[in-house]
Point group: D2
């Protein structure tokens, strides 16, 4: 299940400390101009070491597109790609070969497969998100033609949260700070809080919000293919994701029907809703309003503190991470959320065309 999507499909491979992270995009429409700078830029957004509060490893990931492009345009054929891995400190990971890091995939993978690549977390490392970024960047290039725009931002770190709607922020400010938060005051508070947590050798989680604008009416398939179910599945497949909701989301529980129904009106021939509690999706199908949702992320489980655990032989032991680790995954997850959203929307757009 390393393939995502129905008609626009990302296939992904690669481990943290193998030779590369790679993948393939199948079903990309033909005739799209491939803007390599944009793709590399999207990839760079997920890079660690963008500030003192994210992992300081100096990764220098360059994407190579291996197929599916001729004279600068997509041909409709699969687009293979890879990013070479560098900077292996394999001995940093000798210890976790023997012991299971708490709340990581070490134990479950070992039990499920009887073997695992422990180097840097192997397949379950966050490095796999490289593939998602490449796939998402290419999806965005296609969505540009439909004037569909996807913007995610950090809306919560620990107790520090943005309480207002995405409409009340200037989302162009998101990329101006390392937190990727459009509220600069809150961004500063979050940054300071994360710095403090980092000093403790601890980590912290948060919430990412995402808005998709310009989606036409009609994306989404009946019953099990509801658009928000696809978005939810996409988001929950990201490492460390713990929850997804859209529109009013979990808050819908305390709204009456009369308070959350979005009444329709005729906006010069276009049917629109006065409010948008639905989050742009009704009956599983986009209604033309902005689509917005949230994704909850837990704190990274890798701590620079001693933790009790069990080794591969069942003996209890202590484990403390070494090296450089993110105290907070949120800023780097922003482009991943956008990438997964872009691939999902494009996939459903193509499904909608198939009639």
């Amino acid at each position: 299940m390393n393939t995502f999507g129905n008609l626009f499909r990302l296939t992904s491979f690669g481990e943290s400390h193998g030779s590369c992270i790679g993948g393939m995009i199948d079903g990309c429409p033909a005739g799209i101009m491939v803007d390599m700078d944009f793709i590399q830029h999207e990839l760079d957004r997920r890079k660690p070491g963008q500030s003192t509060i994210t992992t300081s490893r100096n990764e220098n990931d360059r994407v190579e597109l291996l197929s599916g492009i001729y004279e600068g345009q997509t041909t409709g054929m699969p687009i293979g790609f890879l990013v070479r891995n560098e900077n292996h400190h394999t001995n940093d990971y000798e210890e976790i070969k023997q012991a299971f890091r708490p709340s990581h995939a070490d134990f479950t993978y070992q039990k499920k497969y009887g073997i695992r690549d422990p180097r840097g977390g192997g397949r379950s490392s966050a490095r796999e998100t490289i593939s998602r970024c490449v796939g998402g960047a290419i999806a965005k290039l296609v969505l540009n033609q439909y004037n569909i725009k996807i913007q995610a931002y950090t809306s919560r770190v620990a107790h520090i949260r943005l309480d207002k709607s995405y409409k009340d922020y200037d989302l162009s400010l998101t990329e101006t700070n390392v937190i990727r938060c459009p509220d600069l005051q809150k961004a500063s508070e979050m940054e300071q809080y994360i710095a403090r947590i980092k000093e403790e050798g601890d980590t912290v989680g948060g919430v990412i919000s995402c808005v998709i604008q310009g989606v036409q009416v009609g994306l989404g398939e009946p019953l099990f293919g509801k658009l928000h179910a696809a978005l939810g599945s996409a988001m929950l497949s990201i490492n460390a994701a713990k929850g997804f909701d859209y529109g009013l989301g979990f808050e819908a529980a305390c709204y009456k029907g009369s308070e959350q129904n979005d009444s329709f009106y005729n906006d010069n021939g276009q049917i629109r809703t006065h409010t948008n509690y639905s989050g742009g999706i009704q009956g599983g199908v986009s209604n033309g309003e902005d689509i917005y949702f949230r994704v909850a992320f837990k704190a990274v489980p890798t701590l620079l503190k001693e933790q009790s655990t069990v080794d591969i032989d069942g003996n209890e032991t202590l484990l403390k991470a070494r090296g450089r680790h993110d105290p907070c995954v949120l800023p780097r997850a922003v482009p991943i959320v956008e990438a997964m959203a872009a691939m999902t929307i494009l996939d459903y757009l193509l499904l909608g065309n198939a009639k």
Copy 2:
């Protein structure tokens, strides 16, 4: 996309006021004794009219299994089934043929398909959950053989919520009240609140919690097939679902890594975790602990109040539902949540066997 699952697959068809709701289960293991009473019982749990606060239509749904069974056992062949529809008051729905009910699928379906069956909501009616219940009941019969147990309950209605862990309740009390809430005091409060809302002609949402016990280590597939992504997609496909989270879920945002990591210990040869903030899933794969999650539901959008909307020609108009409608979908959604969970877990159990 009216098919759910990879190896254990439910296919569903039927509209609220068509001749029947039906479907088919493909990939059910052979040799399972088919307990018709149990299946009918599971179906009855979703039935409206179980109390004064749920829809009082007297539906009398009897499931017929049409194939895939020989001498009382499953044969591995597809199990077709149907439940005949009765009690059509088609004229009740003449009005919504012309106008789009706010926050329903009327508008999006009409735009997407250029046509829709307005009678009783057509395909997007909650009656489609009949198929889910039948599929879930059969999945449960298989899961019984693995001693896997799935229990959902209403944990929130509007502002009234259960604050404690599922471990602190006696879940056998869930089915003793119409709310399906194991806290009898809270159940009573919820019931009264819903009755009041009903008098207003209004509706209310809430949250359902679900626990899955007895799942072995190893269910879940890498990357895009993480177990919680599959559960999330399953739950979000239910009508009126607005959100899904598991383990600590959205609350994980305000826990430090050191506070939410589940440290391992050796429990007489079995590796277990002291705590279970992970919700029984680590790296997308079950770790042998209880799996638990929540699903948020919005208030039913059908109100016995006048609402402004737009008709099929774009003219603004007023609409007020007639007939009998649920003021709160939660109690009837409890068995649906269980059914979707059962099918997901069985599907992943079969995927895990394929090696």
Copy 3:
């Protein structure tokens, strides 16, 4: 794997002697007028008892469409359907419950599933083709809008074969005789031959040819989704099919490249080929010329002669079919071949639209 197709999908269930044969079509475009007479007519074409040389059971199969239709048109929602089974002589099949009929699915199903429904062949009975006919009829209704026409005919029974291209026959004669062969002289020979074989209690196989006209350039997907691979898989899924080839097919082996290449020319602005050895498909994609292919069928394995076999306990025994059985499946397979072709072409047409 009781579902066929990618975007236009047929799901099928039901056994020969269960309550019904049924299924569901998912992904049918909305707004198609449903011509029930046509659907029933297509179903009637597969019916046994159309002549003295096919099974004389008086099946009276009426299809009921259960969903997905409103005011006579498809709504884009799944179309459930069923055909009730009648005329069960279950005691006719007591014997095969104990013994494995040679070259049937009895032995393999028993070993694979540990259980099988022996009544009338259960799931592996030719009655399952009812679902294919219904799916094919609905696909044909959609293809009519694209002026795509599909015609199959019996081109060989035993040693009696049609040696000429489909272009040299008047295919409108196909339905004028019980063999469904457009060469009336050969049809008569085939009929007499089958009658003779029937008297011997034996059976005989043959070949069905099929032509698809009006397909635009561009149907077919790269690599594993080549159009002829999809057609081949569809045809080989029919009971008793032993082979598939298209264009020159197996004869291509003895043609030189220079003899079988189809050179292009410009036909008033449309690029066409002078010859059509390719069978309308090049590089796996339709090129606008007629698509044609053949399907080989073995003789029905049910004989009114004694055969040696083994019973369920491994004891060697003798078995002789009772009741009424087809001496030759070919005439009744003609509509099945068309049905599978129609669903495949429509599925690929929708895939082609998804861009």
Copy 4:
């Protein structure tokens, strides 16, 4: 549709003259020792230039496995791989950029996608079979553990054919000659014939036969997932394939039922058949006997002769291939047929385990 398989899945990308041919295997069982020499050997078998009658390009294809392996064993994670392309004479292909080669994919791809990579045939080049060989080699490593053995051989070139069953040949002789034909006399005739055709600048087709031994009873899924339908689809996806049949195949047409039924007997507790006209598959499910089938290939359409065609603007023109080309694809297709068979069988073996 550049992905093949259900549970064991090959995804493929790359063009003839792009940077590489690559792909990924998903769903490979964990704990398989990866024998790189064997994989490279399988890849070398498809290499051109193995004799004077196959393409004399000196390709030196080395496979790199990029992921999914740890300490020499598969980990259950996806196995990415690539083979770098070398030896580009891009100017050799300037001409076919403008004109459509007869009976190639040039025209259909151009019309379908509006763009195509003409260099060396782009995606539709036979170089894509590199991915199939790598996938097949890895599948064979897994199948070795089940003692399943797959052997293909050239059984026909033009009019020169092997008339006997595979049982009457010593298949170990297959790899002793450039034709890959176990009948050395016929191999010699074929070789001489191909040499003569080559001198004419022409090409020739043929048939490959394949035997699969050691498959247990029970591989194959009901209805649309019949084992031979999967094998047929796999084989028909190979470039230049025109037909597939199994067991008696097209010859079944002229056998009576009584002549081709395989009667069962008890072979010391194991139920076997006296004959094997069924080709090891009954009712779509393997019955434990040898599986055997044939694949027809047309002559390569690239001729060293002038052919009339049409250019991209619709003007009629002449085209003559330059460079080095295979006069007969058969010998090099033998390992491809084996590779596709190996992946199909392993995929169905895993499907069979999923219960």
